[in-house]
Symmetry: C2
Subunit: 130 residues, 2 copies
């Protein structure tokens, strides 16, 4: 199934759930952050800024995890394990699209000079619980 | 601050939030699961069963992450990075205590012969966002 996103995960990514992204810290331990998520067909899209810890983690080791957990329904969750790529192309458009999706407005919080990066995740494995 | 749990994290651990546990998969990539959590003074307690993937991850590499994320308040979350130890002592008592806390009843779902293990996490670093 590598690369293919099952229907329930597509639906989760299209909803406004905040996902937990796990990356590999330089010392090999896991690092987690909370992010907005969107989808381009079978790929999951997240946004970050060039130079942030998670961006450097992915540049060094592209193996990531994504957890879709809703506390309202905590016994049913989805873990996506995948491979991420980083690209500046479409970075500004993605953060605005995510911001519109989650807040209803474009994104106004980046400092001048910050470079928006698209984190594009291809699923290697999807584990659905519950 | 190693080992010391800030007050907001103590409160989160005492509430009934489901945490995301990140462990290190044998291949070095992150693995995430969702768990109940409790607290013993400054240590965070989780329950698993001997032989499960996360238990084997921790036996091999004790570095873990815990994410406290409430979708109702997603811009305020806490990541705990810590070191875990595994012990069978008190394993049955902990799963019953967790089950009482989260469901109001003792735990009845283990198969005979399953050995309950306590995952005890000492915080090395606590990152509070929002």
């Amino acid at each position: 199934m590598a690369g293919r996103l099952p229907e329930p995960v597509r639906a989760l990514a299209d909803a406004r759930i905040h996902v937990v992204l796990a990356t590999v810290h330089p010392d090999g331990s896991p690092r987690m952050t909370v992010l907005w998520v969107d989808r381009d067909e079978d790929e999951l899209l997240l946004s970050t800024v060039r130079g942030r810890a998670k961006e450097r983690d992915i540049a060094r080791d592209p193996r990531v995890g994504l957890m879709f957990l809703d506390q309202e329904n905590p016994y049913s969750y989805v873990e996506v394990r995948g491979t991420a790529t980083l690209t500046e192309q479409g970075g500004r458009e993605l953060i605005d699209r995510l911001s519109l999706k989650y807040t209803g407005d474009i994104y106004r919080w980046d400092d001048p000079g910050e470079v928006r990066v698209v984190i594009r995740v291809v699923a290697d494995r999807v584990l659905t619980v519950g």
